[in-house]
């Protein structure tokens, strides 16, 4: 996690539980019980970019009435049952990546630190198993720092056979 040196802009940490290394389960909450963590944490650096990208990727496009171009169609495709295979996931993700590449840099001023500027996002692997789509996604900032997260999503109209897709580096 990037330390705040007093010059960076801050956003509120929305997903608790991330560890600097290794996998961990995130909790979407703005506050944590005091015994396990502090409430209202701020976020900077690559984690802030990851938060932005995560929110943008999984916001259904058109769901914000007065921001009709924000978000992507990834969740829309999932909810409409258009994702039936790992290839479908990959195709939908690629389409979403185009929207991400347009929307996220458009809201940056260029004055942010490079590790807080969106670079790219790639789907590392995807598996479909028992009605759940498991995706490994790598986010890269303009500075080259990366953040990897795994996202399990419930799938509509699942197939009975587990499927996998692994992208080439």
């Amino acid at each position: 996690m990037t330390l705040d040196d007093g010059t960076r802009q801050l956003d509120i940490l929305a997903f608790y539980g991330a560890n600097p290394t290794g996998p961990s389960r995130l909790r979407q909450t703005l506050a944590e019980p005091t015994a396990t963590g502090s409430s209202g944490m701020a976020v900077t650096g690559i984690q802030k970019v990851a938060q932005r990208a995560y929110v943008e990727l999984f916001t259904p496009k058109g769901s914000l009435q007065y921001l009709p171009d924000r978000g992507t169609n990834f969740i829309n495709d999932l909810q409409a049952g258009r994702i039936r295979s790992a290839v479908d996931v990959a195709q939908s993700f690629e389409s979403a990546r185009v929207d991400m590449a347009r929307n996220l840099p458009a809201e940056e001023t260029g004055l942010e630190p490079a590790d807080e500027q969106y670079g790219d996002m790639r789907l590392v692997s995807v598996t479909l198993d028992s009605g759940v789509v498991n995706m490994r996604i790598i986010l890269m900032s303009a500075a080259g720092t990366t953040f990897e997260f795994i996202e399990p999503l419930p799938q509509v109209n699942t197939g009975s056979t587990p499927q996998s897709f692994i992208s080439e580096e």
């Binding site: 960076r8 802009q9 938060q51 932005r52 929110v55 007065y66 921001l67 924000r70 940056e108």
Partner: protein
């Protein structure tokens, strides 16, 4: 009472976008370390906050617009009505409320038995719903007519029986002003029911006044309520509930070519001091059915000649007797031939001093509340054997066409407390009528949906009948009104306009054109652009609907 917030889903997206940008800029200025890009700050603070701020700003703009005349005129549909009411009340103006139409229904039954129509009984006519406000009981024996809501069952010529009762429209608005003879059908017909229809034109239905129409009366609001210039006199009307919804008025006064009454002196010059107040109270003149007793005059080869008379107070300012048929006639339409229509002036037994009129010049008093009429017609249907001239009588149903409320307005303006102290000579008159017929062909694309013919004709008639005193009626005006209802790709043929001016002396002048009906300037006949109104019934608008056929190339 505070204005409610508009719905968050109905805001102008451009306004919300601008607010997002402005709020982000201001928040960033105050909090440079706040990241307002996509994330909790943006999604939970900036975005919903901007929507709310836009809603509040919208209310502010609405109130601002509604508090000034320039704002209301620029955006009459969005100005807050309560604020507009408050503003115009400072100028003694009150918004006209809506009102339901009222009228009489004739119900025909096949047998002479007591018929009871309950209170709140529903009837439907021309797509509108009407109800009774009282219980009406129709009785066969006149001796049993005791209460105000008892009615006599009258035998018709075909052996059926009919009676009248009053209904009121369920909804406010002019749609309830159905025309005479329109079928008005009960939802629960009584026993032996045959048919039912409007006895006369229904009247009184109007919508709540819009902000635009309300503002149009602004000048009248500020004007003094005196019989002075046209604005003052319109302001006088506005003060009275009975007259505040007149369609249009026109003043013929000193110096106007159509002012005939101020040239009665020994010297052939206009002396001034007199006003003819031409009133178009309603968009269309009312058609009222009255049963008159006619006197047999003489027998001719064409049939018996009969005479009926209308005294001054029976049908003030009437235009014509459009239809005369034997009373209780069933299955007949049209009219017996009218052989003469003589108007005379009657100023006897008035409670006020009558305006000056030359009894020898019908152009000075016809269509005023001071005319009486004697009409002779030829009845070939009624046998004349045994009838004694000038003694025998017969009953006839007469459809009278007239602008309403002329006599009431005349009495109002002649009252000592209102008439001008100097001359006080104001004569109320109905406009000289130009009855119009329209004919046009509409060609629609092959697959387009044809608009409802009756709706189009009704709406076009409403627009034409509210033109006031335009002086001319152009074909392009009619075309534009019809075009509003046509699907894309439709075309209209040239509009054929036919007009019949019935001048005060009873003579007719015909106008026919594909471009414009222009009122001829004949001031000596009280016929000018200031005195003539165009009237068109929906049934006198004929639209022929055709389809384009595809051509092979």
């Amino acid at each position: 009472m505070p204005l409610p917030l508009p719905s968050f889903t109905d805001l102008d997206p451009v306004e919300v976008d601008a607010m997002l940008e402005e709020a982000a800029e201001r928040l960033q200025e105050d909090n440079p370390r706040l990241d307002l890009k996509r994330g909790p700050n943006h999604d939970l603070l900036l975005y919903p906050g901007s929507i709310y701020a836009t809603a509040v700003r919208t209310i502010g703009e609405t109130v601002q617009q509604s508090q000034t005349f320039i704002g209301i005129r620029a955006n009459p549909t969005t100005a807050d009505e309560a604020t507009v009411d408050g503003l115009l009340s400072n100028y003694r103006l009150v918004r006209q409320t809506g009102a339901p139409a009222r009228g009489q229904v004739v119900l025909v039954v096949s047998s002479p038995s007591t018929v009871v129509i309950g209170a709140n009984a529903r009837f439907n006519g021309n797509g509108q719903a009407f109800i009774t406000e009282s219980v009406f009981t129709a009785k066969v024996d006149a001796a049993n007519i005791l209460g105000e809501t008892d009615r006599l069952l009258r035998e018709q010529s075909d052996g059926s029986y009919a009676f009248e009762f009053e209904v009121v429209a369920v909804e406010e608005g002019p749609s309830g002003n159905v025309a005479k003879d329109t079928p008005v059908v009960p939802e629960s017909p009584p026993a032996a029911y045959v048919r039912s229809y409007a006895a006369s034109d229904f009247t009184g239905g109007r919508d709540v006044e819009t902000n635009a129409d309300y503002m149009a009366r602004m000048d009248e609001g500020q004007a003094a309520r005196i019989p002075g210039n046209p604005t003052n006199m319109s302001a006088m009307l506005m003060e009275e509930d009975a007259f505040d919804d007149f369609v249009a008025t026109s003043i013929v006064g000193a110096g106007d070519s159509a002012m005939l009454r101020d040239r009665q002196s020994l010297f052939p010059i206009a002396t001034g001091g007199k006003v003819d107040w031409v009133i178009r109270a309603t968009a269309l003149p009312q058609r009222t059915l009255v049963t008159k007793t006619a006197v047999f005059v003489e027998d001719t080869s064409a049939g018996g000649v009969w005479r009926i008379s209308f005294d001054r107070d029976e049908a003030p300012g009437m235009y014509e007797a459009r239809s005369i048929l034997p009373a209780g006639s069933v299955g007949l339409s049209g009219t017996l031939a009218i052989s003469s229509d003589t108007r005379v002036v009657d100023v006897t037994d008035l409670t006020y001093k009558a305006p000056t009129m030359d009894a020898a010049d019908p152009n000075q008093f016809v269509y005023t509340p001071f005319q009486s009429a004697v009409i002779e017609f030829v009845d070939y249907l009624t046998p004349t054997s045994g009838l004694v001239p000038l003694e025998s009588t017969g009953s006839y149903d007469v459809e009278v066409v007239a602008q309403p409320q002329l006599a009431q307005l005349q009495a109002f303006i002649q009252h000592r407390s209102r008439r001008a102290a100097g001359s006080g000579d104001v004569l109320v008159r109905a406009p000289v009528p130009c009855f119009v017929a329209v004919s046009v062909t509409a060609t629609l694309p092959e697959t387009a949906v044809q608009p409802d013919d009756e709706t189009v004709r009704n709406e076009v008639a409403v627009q034409i009948n509210n033109l006031g005193f335009p002086g001319s009626l152009s074909a392009s005006t009619v075309s534009n009104l019809i075009y509003e209802w046509l699907p894309a790709g439709s075309t209209l043929s040239p509009v054929d306009l036919l007009g019949k001016i019935r001048r005060p002396d009873g003579s007719l002048e015909w106008l026919h054109s594909n471009s414009e009906l222009k009122v001829p300037d004949r001031p000596e006949m009280f016929t000018t652009a200031n005195t003539v109104c165009f009237y068109v019934e929906p049934d006198d608008i004929e639209i022929s609907w055709q389809r384009k056929t595809a051509t092979l190339r």
